[in-house]
C-alpha cells in the first residue's frame, strides 16, 4: 500500500527558467579525475613531510 505523504516527498519542484542561471553557476563540476589528482597531490605532500 502506497503512503501518499511519503510518496509525495519524492516529488520536488521542477526548475523554472528564472532559476537556470543560479543552477548553472552552483553546479559542482568536479569529477573523479579532479579528486584523484587532488589525492595524489596530498599524498605527495604527506610523503615529503615524512621524509623530513
Amino acid at each position: 500500500m502506497i503512503n501518499f505523504e511519503e510518496e509525495l516527498k519524492k516529488f520536488h519542484p521542477s526548475l523554472e527558467i528564472e532559476d537556470a542561471e543560479e543552477i548553472i553557476y552552483n553546479q559542482d563540476l568536479d569529477d573523479i579525475g579532479d579528486v584523484v589528482v587532488k589525492l595524489l597531490k596530498d599524498a605527495k605532500v604527506e610523503s615529503g613531510k615524512a621524509d623530513r
Binding site: 500500500m1 502506497i2 501518499f4 510518496e7 509525495l8 519524492k10 516529488f11 519542484p13 521542477s14 526548475l15 523554472e16 527558467i17 532559476d19 537556470a20 543552477i23 548553472i24 553546479q27 563540476l29 568536479d30 569529477d31 573523479i32 579525475g33 579532479d34 584523484v36 589528482v37
Partner: protein
Amino acid sequence: MRCYKCGATLVSGNDKCPSCGTNVKIYKRIMALSNRYYNEGLEKASVRNMTGSIESLRQSLKFNKNNIDARNLLGLVYYETGEVVAALSEWVISKNLRAEDNIADGYMDMIKNDPSTLDTFNQTIKKYNISLNYCHQDSQDLAIIQLKKVLSMNPGFIRAHLLLSLLYLNNGNYAKARVEAQKALNLDTGSVMARRYIHEAESMLNPNEIAKSEPKPEKKQQPKNGDVIRYQSGNEMIIQPVRSGVIGGSFSVWAIVVGIILGIAASCFLILPARIQSINSSNQKKIVAISEESDAKSAQINEYTEEVESLQAQVEELEGQLNQAEGTDSQTAAMNSLMTAVAAYLNDASDTESVATALEQIDIQLIQDGAISSEFTTLYNSLMTLVGASLATQYYDTGYEAYKSEDYETAITNLARAYSYDNTNVNALYYLGNAYYDSGDTDTAMQIFDQVITEFPDTQSAEGAEVKLAEINNASN
C-alpha cells in the same frame, strides 16, 4: 585523450604521458569508465529508459566532466522528460566546456528560435509547481485540474503524469491512476515509480476493470462521410476535420470559376445597388441643396423685378411730370411769342418782319394738337387773318428764290412756313416737295407730293407731283 597534467595527446598502449612522463594509467581507466557509462546511457535512451539513461549519464559525467557527448545527451534526455531548464543547464555548461563544434549549439538555437514553445514549457513548469503546492496544502482537486492543464500543454512531462497518477491512487480512482502511470511508463520505460503505481492500481482493480482501463491503441478511423476523423488517444476521443485536397482536379477549377462568378454576382446584386443607392442619396441631397439655393435666388429675382417695376413706374411718373412741366414752359413761350408778335403788329402794322420773327418762335404743333388754350388759338387766328397772307407771300418768295438758287435748306424752311401761314398755296407745297426731292430726301418728298395730289387734285402742281412720284418710283425700281 589528453594528459590531465600537460594537455598533450596520450598514446594508446602507453601508460605514461609522452610529453611530461606522468603515469596516466588510472586516468585512462577513469576515462574508459566514463565512456562506458555514456554508452550505457545511450543504449537506455534509445529504448526510452529515461531514468536509467539519466543515471548512467550522470555517472559518466562524474568520471569525466568533459565528456561532451554524455552531457549533451543528458540535456536531450532531460528535455524529453519535460525538464527543460535542466536540459538547458547541461547544454550551456557543455557549450562553455567546448565552444566550437558542439551540437549543444543546435539544441539551444532550436529553443531560442521558438520562444513561444519555451514560454509554454515554462508555463507548464510553473503550473506543475503550483500543483505540487496544492498537494502539500491538501487541495488535491485543484492539483488534479492544474496537472490536467499541464499535460494538455506538454504531454511529455513525465513527472506530471506520475504526480497525477499518485493523486488518482490517493483518491481511489485506480483506473485513471493506472492510465496515467502507464503513460509515464510509455514515456520512460525505466521509471520504477510508474511501475509501482501501475502495480498498486492493478492490485486494487479486478481483471475486468484492468481490461477496460487498458489504453487502446491509437487507431485512426476512416471518415464515414468524409468530413471528420475520430480516433482514440489514450482515454480521449479526438475529432479532427479531414484535410481533403480542395485544389485538385477539374472539379476544383470549376469550383473556383463558379466561386468567382458568384462573387461577381454578389457584388453586382448586393454591393453595387448599395453603392448606387449611396451615390443617388448623395446626389439627391446635392439636388435638394441646389433647389433650395435656386428657390432663394428666384425669390430674390422676383423681389428685384418688383423693385424694377416700381422704379419704372416712378420713372414714368417723373417723365410725365417733366413733360407736363416742359409743356407748360412751351405754352408760356408760345404765349410770350404771340404777345410779342401782336405788340409788334400794333406798334407798326407794316413791320411784317418783326411780326414774322416773333411768330417764328411759336410752335405751330401746339395749336394743331389743341394743347394750348382756345383764347391763344383765337388770338393767333385773328393775327394770322391780318398778317398771314402777307407773311405767306413773303416766305414763299424767299423760299422760291432759295429753291431757284438751289439753297434747298433755306427753301424748305421758308416754303414750309409759307404753306403753314397759307394752306391754300399749292405752289408753296409743290415746291416744298421739289426742294425735298432735290435735296435727296425722297421719302419726305413723296409724302409732300401725295399731299399735293390729295389736297389739290386737277391742278398743274398735282400733275407735276404725279410725274415726280413716277420718277421716284422708277428710280427706286
